[in-house]
């Protein structure tokens, strides 16, 4: 012990083990929960965890789920999610989660065990080249080779994970580093020596952006996950900017919730399964403002036909996202929130009026597209009628309006994910967690787990498909252990629905390996894990099941049998342009015209 008033004349000889230093650094970074799974090389950390109460450890059932849970935690709180796994298989199992967090820009610090330094490279038991394997799946990674570097690297990893465009960071920890004594250093107050992403936008460029926007006759605002990552204040600034300009706004899948879905200026999600009005407005606009989105291929469709007549402004915190897929006239590097605040200020400072008559004409055009009511579907209501999946989500949304709790939605990947994005309306950021970039089936259940840990009193629903849910179904054990009242809402169409849809539309209805054979009885499965299982087989049973699920204070699996033939529309077929979208099965014949070049695209 040293007396703070009388600092020692000589450097302190470290007395704490590496594992203790690690926990101290995590505590200093504000970490209150870790998602993990023990193993030989990380036993010293588990020993140190055993001796303290500040950091809670959530024991998952598979390392992939630990990362997704940390992603759910991070996305719903805006904080860095922390994962702890052992060496070898522990680390390799985590790779899918890391790649998922990389593509969706989610801040994660993943601590991986490693064999002791003197055994590295010897093909030791449970050894893997973790930094080598995770290099392309992380924003950055570290192998700690000296005890003296441990604390600094941990602090730096948190800085890298949350700064600039956020992402996952791996710290590989050899066992001897964890056992040996290590000195502690607090987080550095000096800027990082090389990684200093630009957050403040250039004011001259912002002024040019405003001039371009004010000259617009058919403007469009398109925003993505960057606005969500910039914090709730950025979403509020977006809403102010959209209202001030009177321009239409669309969100990407990652950006849903940044702008209130109920707002009349919201055109819905854009892209492959986006709304007719959002996609046609993208195609027809003359000035396009992109804030924190990356012109992903799901959004652009065929690149050479993407928004052909628009002058484009792209605001992004990651310079490599600009001019990657789509050349833009005005690139602006900066944080989405700062940029939106700057745009608001510059808008007021620029006396030029907008062309109101032209914009009113543009809105009339948009309203004509809206009149198409592209998300319409027909649900027969006679008792015994099969449930349309869209109707199931719509009723889930409507019945949750009466719920007083904060509501968070996670999804797996496939048709149910797109229907959730289309029919569940999000009013605020950080309440929608879905695997956008990597498209990881099995994401939703562990993500919901992480959200529920962060928000114990909230209503957390995983909208799932029967195929996706089985990819991480083992996490029912974790939900049971920690009594997490997550609701799993399965749209069960007995198919890998999106695969089936593509096979129907592009591969002559040859349903190769896409049927979900030998499904478990989900009600019994819930029971086996100590949860509540419910089932709705026809439309007359749906509301009752949803109500019972919402009223239950335990983990629930609601198995909703939906129409197996239903396809997800609207749809821009791969290789097609925004204005070539298919509105429903009646016009799906046009898909037969998809070229081989289009088929190559996924």
């Amino acid at each position: 012990m040293t007396d703070a008033a009388h600092p020692p004349a000589h450097p302190v000889i470290p007395t704490a083990s590496g594992a203790e230093i690690l926990l101290r650094a995590l505590k200093d970074q504000g970490v209150d929960v870790i998602f993990g799974y023990p193993g030989g090389s990380v036993l010293p950390i588990y020993d140190a965890l055993f001796n303290q109460n500040a950091i809670r450890h959530i024991l998952v059932r598979h390392e992939q789920a630990a990362v997704h849970a940390a992603e759910g935690y991070a996305r719903s709180t805006g904080r860095v999610g922390v994962v702890l796994v052992t060496s070898g298989p522990g680390a390799t199992n985590a790779v899918t989660g890391l790649a998922d967090a990389l593509l969706d820009s989610i801040p994660i610090v993943c601590l991986t065990g490693q064999v002791p330094t003197h055994l590295i490279g010897n093909d030791a038991f449970q050894e893997a080249d973790t930094t080598g394997i995770t290099r392309p799946a992380t924003k950055h990674n570290y192998l700690v080779k000296r005890s003296g570097d441990l604390a600094r690297i941990i602090h730096e990893a948190f800085y890298v994970a949350r700064s600039g465009r956020p992402g996952p960071v791996v710290i590989d920890l050899p066992k001897d580093i964890l056992i040996g004594k290590a000195p502690y250093t607090p987080p550095a107050e000096t800027p990082h020596r090389s990684y200093r992403p630009r957050t403040e936008p250039d004011t001259a460029l912002i002024a040019r952006a405003v001039a371009m926007l004010k000259s617009a006759r058919r403007p469009m605002i398109y925003t993505g996950g960057g606005v969500i990552n910039a914090g709730p204040a950025a979403s509020a600034a977006l809403a102010r900017f959209v209202h001030k300009t009177g321009f239409p706004c669309t969100n990407t899948l990652m950006g849903l919730g940044a702008f209130p879905a109920s707002d009349p200026q919201f055109l819905g999600m854009l892209g492959m399964h986006g709304t007719y009005e959002a996609n046609l407005a993208m195609h027809g606009c003359d000035v396009l403002l992109n804030v924190g989105a990356r012109f992903d291929d799901r959004v652009t469709g065929r690149l050479n036909a993407f928004s052909p007549d628009s002058r484009k402004i792209h605001i992004d915190i990651d310079p490599s996202s600009i001019n990657k897929n789509v050349p833009v006239e005005l690139p602006i590097v900066g944080d989405a929130g700062r940029a939106l605040e700057a745009l608001l200020a510059a808008w007021d400072a620029d006396p030029t009026p907008v062309d109101r008559p032209a914009i009113a004409t543009w809105w009339r055009q948009i309203d004509t597209w809206r009149g198409n009511n592209c998300l319409r579907f027909t649900q027969p209501h006679e008792p015994g009628s099969i449930i349309k999946p869209q109707y199931a989500i719509q009723r889930l949304y409507e019945l949750t309006r009466a719920v007083k709790q904060d509501i968070f939605i996670t999804t797996e990947v496939g048709q149910h994910q797109m229907w959730a994005a289309q029919y569940f309306k999000f009013e605020q950021p950080n309440h929608w967690m879905t695997s956008g970039g990597l498209g990881t089936m099995g994401y939703g259940l562990p993500a919901a787990m992480g959200v529920q840990i962060a928000h114990p009193d909230a209503l957390v629903i995983d909208i799932a498909g029967e195929a996706s849910i089985l990819m991480n179904i083992q996490e029912m054990g974790t939900l049971s252990q920690y009594r997490l009242p997550v609701k799993v809402f399965i749209l069960n169409n007995e198919y890998m629905g999106m695969v089936r849809q593509w096979q129907e539309l592009l591969h002559g209805s040859r349903y190769s390996e896409s049927y979900s054979a030998a499904l478990p009885d989900f009600v019994k499965l819930a029971d086996a894990y100590g949860a509540v299982g419910l089932r709705a087989k026809s439309v007359d049973e749906l509301d009752g099941v949803i109500r019972e699920m919402l009223a239950c204070d335990r983990t629930v699996i609601a198995d909703i049998a939906v129409d197996p033939k239903e396809n997800c529309y609207p749809m821009i077929p791969s290789g097609a342009a925004h204005n070539e979208m298919i509105l429903g099965s009646e016009s799906a014949g046009g898909v037969a015209g998809v070229t081989d070049e289009g088929k190559v695209l996924v």
Binding site: P136, S194, N304, P327
Partner: protein, 177 residues
Amino acid sequence: MAQDSNNGYRTATIAVLVDNEPGILARVVGLFSGRGYNIDSLTVAAVEDNGQRSRINIVTSGTEMVIEQIKAQLDRLVPVHRVSDLSKDGPHLAREMMMIKIICPHQDGGGGNRAEALRLADAFRARVVDASTESFVFEMTGATDKLDAFVELMRPLGLAEVSRTGVAAIARGTRVI
């Protein structure tokens, strides 16, 4: 392929100043292979701060949009301090060093080849750094196309082996990375 309004294909010499830490070269090379960029030449060595920092010189080629993308991707790697596009930012010098082995025995009428190889080496300012009755090793420094030209001239004279360093480059004048 990315949409590109400027289809001009160009060669770029990019200098990257990085922290000299384990894995940095794998990070840079992995970036190029993972994203399908070309590497025509790559050199790396510690250059400053007592070996704490290294300089990587990369010669690559692609459309203007791809080269801008390569620079942005390099710049966002955490251990990267600076990225400079030498071939775009102004005049620069680019040199590589080569050692080239010619096998042309004195016997069997090879004497003419030996004399010719020496004459050409002299004209190209290549130095003889090793000689035997059956071979020469020339050392030569210069721009890539000059080295290429010398290799072609040596081919009929008994060219046996070439070892090149790849390009090291630096800006002319007062400009620094």
